[in-house]
Homo-oligomer: 108 residues x 2
DNA sequence: CCAACTTATCACAATATTGTTATACCGGCA
DNA sequence: TGCCGGTATAACAATATTGTGATAAGTTGG
């Protein structure tokens, strides 16, 4: 058998055994969030899609695509271009998933 | 003259007139941060580049590229793949830049 | 020294994202 | 109605990112 590149085994070792199923869903949600993130930033700046496009050296249809909730092609470079144009800073973080309770959670 | 797609004028209107210069630098720093973000996450999970690559269905050289501080090709899809594999959640935010003080900042 | 493991780098094919133009749809307004 | 601004969609070219295999260098342990 493969020595260290057996994905299933590694997954179990790292996550406890059920991370594989969460993969697909998370991506869909992030795409949706990103679309809204862009829309909100543009709206807050009071810009039209054409204006924002001009700011980042692009065209209006590109912004329309980015703001479509089902668009899956988001890239970091595009997000950075938008952030820079709007004088914002793009912040990225990996945060623990729910379900990995640390210590006791005092529910009641 | 162009009606609404004059980038310079829009920039001045949105940012106050000096955002164009901050664009390039911010991107370089974000790339560096992302490289470290990936490295930290992988190290925290106790995985080798080969193991992480296997988890996301890729190969070791790809991870090496992503962790190189001067790599500029980071994509959201890749970050999401890594986050999912490590059972983490990718969080994205646009935050105001320093220098855009709102109201009075009570310094002293 | 040798073997195994990890990481780094190169080159090129394969795929994904962006660029660009054209056009359609909608709502507001004269 | 007709015009205008704003947004959405389509199609294809151009560019960027990933996939893949080969290989080198550094490290650790025998």
């Amino acid at each position: 058998m493969a020595r260290t590149t057996d994905a299933v085994k590694i997954l179990e070792r790292v996550t406890g055994g059920d991370a594989a199923m969460t993969a697909g869903r998370a991506e869909a949600k992030v795409n949706f969030d990103v679309a809204q993130l862009i829309y909100d930033a543009r709206a807050a700046a009071g810009l039209s899609q054409s204006e924002l496009a001009a700011l980042i050296g692009s065209k209006q249809p590109v912004i329309a695509r980015l703001e479509a909730a089902d668009y899956e092609g988001h890239s970091l470079t595009m997000l950075q271009r938008i952030a820079s144009a709007l004088d914002l800073r793009l912040e990225l973080r990996f945060i623990p998933r729910n379900g990995v309770r640390r210590r006791k959670s005092r529910l009641a």
